[in-house]
C-alpha cells in the first residue's frame, strides 16, 4: 500500500494542477518533522568586513554601483560571475 499523498501545484504547469489523491499508506511517509535545532550562539558583533582580492575582494563598506537617488536604483550589479546556470 502506498501512503496517501496529494500534490497540488499553483504555479508550475500553469497552476492548479493536482496529482493524485493516489492511494496509499506506507513506511515512507517520512512525514514532515520539525527542523532540528540549529546550534549557534547570540549574534556576533557587527565586525566590519575588509577585503583582499578575487571573491575575497568583497568589501563590507563598499559603495560600488550605488545610487544616491533612492527612487532610481542602480542595476546589473549581480549576475556577472559564473556560467550559464548556477544550480548544482
Amino acid at each position: 500500500m502506498r501512503r496517501p499523498r496529494t500534490i497540488t501545484l499553483v504555479i508550475m504547469g500553469g497552476g492548479l494542477a493536482t496529482l493524485g489523491a493516489v492511494a496509499l499508506g506506507a513506511t515512507s511517509g517520512r512525514p514532515c518533522q520539525p527542523p532540528p535545532a540549529q546550534p549557534g550562539a547570540p549574534p556576533a558583533n557587527n565586525t566590519a568586513c575588509q577585503h583582499t582580492s578575487g571573491w575575497g575582494g568583497y568589501v563590507g563598506s563598499g559603495r560600488s554601483g550605488s545610487s544616491s537617488d533612492a527612487s532610481t536604483s542602480a542595476r546589473g550589479g549581480f549576475g556577472a560571475s559564473g556560467g550559464a546556470h548556477a544550480g548544482e
Partner: protein, 371 residues
C-alpha cells in the same frame, strides 16, 4: 537492496512533462528525465539512506560549529574578508530551507558522502513531483522516498520571513528558473507573496536592494552561489543591506568542498565519510581531486577521468576515490534531500561515466513498503 530495472517509457511522457511545467525534461535535445530505467530499493534500504542522511547532517552541523568557533576558514578556502558575514549568519541561526547530499551507495554498505550541495541545489522539481507522477503511472502499488513537496510547504512558515519574498535566478538559465518557480509554488501555498526576479535585475538604491518596481527586497531566495554574489559588484553591499538571504551565508561552510577534509579531520573513520585532505597523497590510495568551489562535476581529476571547466584556482580537496557502483553500465549518485535540516527524499542521477555532470540523467526510484 538496490536494483536497476529497465522500463518502457510512457509514450506520452513528454506531454506529461510539459503539462507539469517541467521545461528541462530534455536538455540540448537529449532526455534529461530518463524513465527507461528505475531503481528499486527495499524498505530497509530506504531506512538506511534516511538514517545516513540524518547522521551526515548531524556531522555537518557540528563541523560548522567547530569551523566558526575555531576559525577554520583556511581549510574551507573562504577568504578572510568574507568570513565575518559567514560567521554572523551562523551565529544568528539563520534557517536553511534545503540542501542535497550526494551519496555513493550500492544499496549494501553504508552510504558515503561525496559532497554537500548546500547553497544552490537543483534537480528538486523532478525529485519532488516528476518522479512521483511517474510512480503513480508506472508503479502504482509501490512507494517512493519522497515527501519533499509537503516538507517544503511546511518549512516556509518556520523560516521567520516577511510576507513578501523574492526569488532570483539567472535570467536565461532554464533549469534554475524551473527550480525557483517550483519553490515559489511551494512558498505561495504556504502563504508567502512569492515574486520572481532575474538576479541581473536586482537594484541597489544606496540603502537597500530593490526590485524592478523599486520596492525594497526584505528577503530573497537566490539560486546563485554565495561566492558569486560576493564577487559581483553589488556584493559589496550585502553586509550593510537589511536583506535576508536564502540560503543563508553560513551555507558556504558546507558548500565548500573543504568541508570533506574538515569532516574527516573531526570524524576520522566514520562509515559515512571518505578520507579527504586539502593536500594530495594523504589518503593512502587513489584520489579524486575536486575544486573547493567547483560545480556540476567540472574540473574533476580522478583515476582515468578528468573534466574541463573554469574552477580550481581557489584550491582543491583530495578525497579517497571510491568509484560509483555500476548498474547496467550506468553509474548512479544518490541525491538525498534535506528540508529544514531533516531527510525528506531522494533523487537519482546516473551517467555513462563515474563522474556525475550537468548532462547526467535523472532516473526515478521506488520501493515496496513490505519488502
Amino acid at each position: 537492496m538496490m536494483i536497476r530495472h529497465i522500463f518502457a517509457p510512457r509514450p506520452d511522457w513528454r506531454r506529461r512533462a510539459t503539462q507539469l511545467g517541467f521545461a528541462y525534461a530534455e536538455i540540448a535535445g537529449k532526455p534529461y528525465w530518463d524513465e527507461s530505467a528505475a531503481y528499486e530499493f527495499s524498505a530497509a534500504a530506504i531506512d538506511a539512506v534516511e538514517a545516513a542522511t540524518a547522521e551526515i547532517e548531524r556531522l555537518c552541523r557540528a563541523a560548522c560549529a567547530h569551523a566558526v568557533a575555531a576559525d577554520r576558514r583556511d581549510i574551507l578556502g573562504i577568504p578572510p574578508s568574507v568570513w565575518p558575514i559567514v560567521t554572523r549568519s551562523w551565529q544568528a541561526n539563520e534557517p536553511s530551507l534545503y540542501g542535497r547530499l550526494d551519496l555513493r551507495w550500492d544499496g549494501v554498505g553504508p552510504p558515503q558522502l561525496l559532497e554537500y550541495n548546500a547553497d544552490t541545489p537543483t534537480a528538486l522539481y523532478e525529485a519532488a513531483v516528476i518522479q512521483w507522477e511517474w510512480l503513480t503511472c508506472a508503479m502504482p502499488d509501490a512507494d517512493q522516498f519522497n515527501s519533499l513537496h509537503e516538507a517544503l510547504i511546511a518549512a516556509w512558515p518556520r523560516m521567520g520571513l516577511p510576507r513578501r519574498v523574492h526569488f532570483a535566478a539567472l535570467r536565461d538559465a532554464v533549469e534554475d528558473i524551473g527550480t525557483i518557480d517550483y519553490l515559489r509554488d511551494t512558498a505561495t501555498q504556504a502563504g508567502i507573496d512569492a515574486r520572481a526576479i532575474a538576479i541581473e535585475d536586482l537594484g541597489w538604491n544606496g540603502r537597500t536592494f530593490t526590485d524592478l518596481s523599486e520596492a525594497p527586497i526584505k528577503a530573497i531566495f537566490k539560486l546563485y552561489p554565495w561566492e558569486w554574489l560576493l564577487r559581483d559588484k553589488f556584493g559589496a553591499h550585502i553586509a550593510d543591506a537589511p536583506t535576508r538571504w536564502i540560503e543563508p551565508a553560513w551555507r558556504l561552510l558546507l558548500s565548500s568542498k573543504g568541508l570533506l577534509a574538515l569532516l574527516w579531520e573531526l570524524f576520522p573513520g566514520h562509515p559515512n565519510l571518505l578520507p579527504a585532505y586539502r593536500e594530495p597523497g594523504r589518503t593512502g590510495g587513489p584520489e579524486i581531486s575536486k575544486p573547493l568551489f567547483g560545480r556540476e562535476g567540472a574540473n574533476i581529476a580522478a583515476p582515468g577521468h578528468t573534466t574541463a571547466g573554469p574552477y580550481g584556482d581557489e584550491g582543491r580537496v583530495y578525497q579517497a576515490y571510491a568509484e560509483l557502483p555500476c548498474f547496467d553500465g550506468r553509474y548512479p549518485v544518490i541525491g538525498s534531500w534535506l528540508i529544514a535540516g531533516a531527510p525528506h527524499g531522494i533523487g537519482i542521477r546516473e551517467d555513462a561515466t563515474p563522474i556525475t555532470q550537468d548532462t547526467s540523467c535523472f532516473v526515478p526510484h521506488f520501493f515496496r513498503p513490505d519488502a
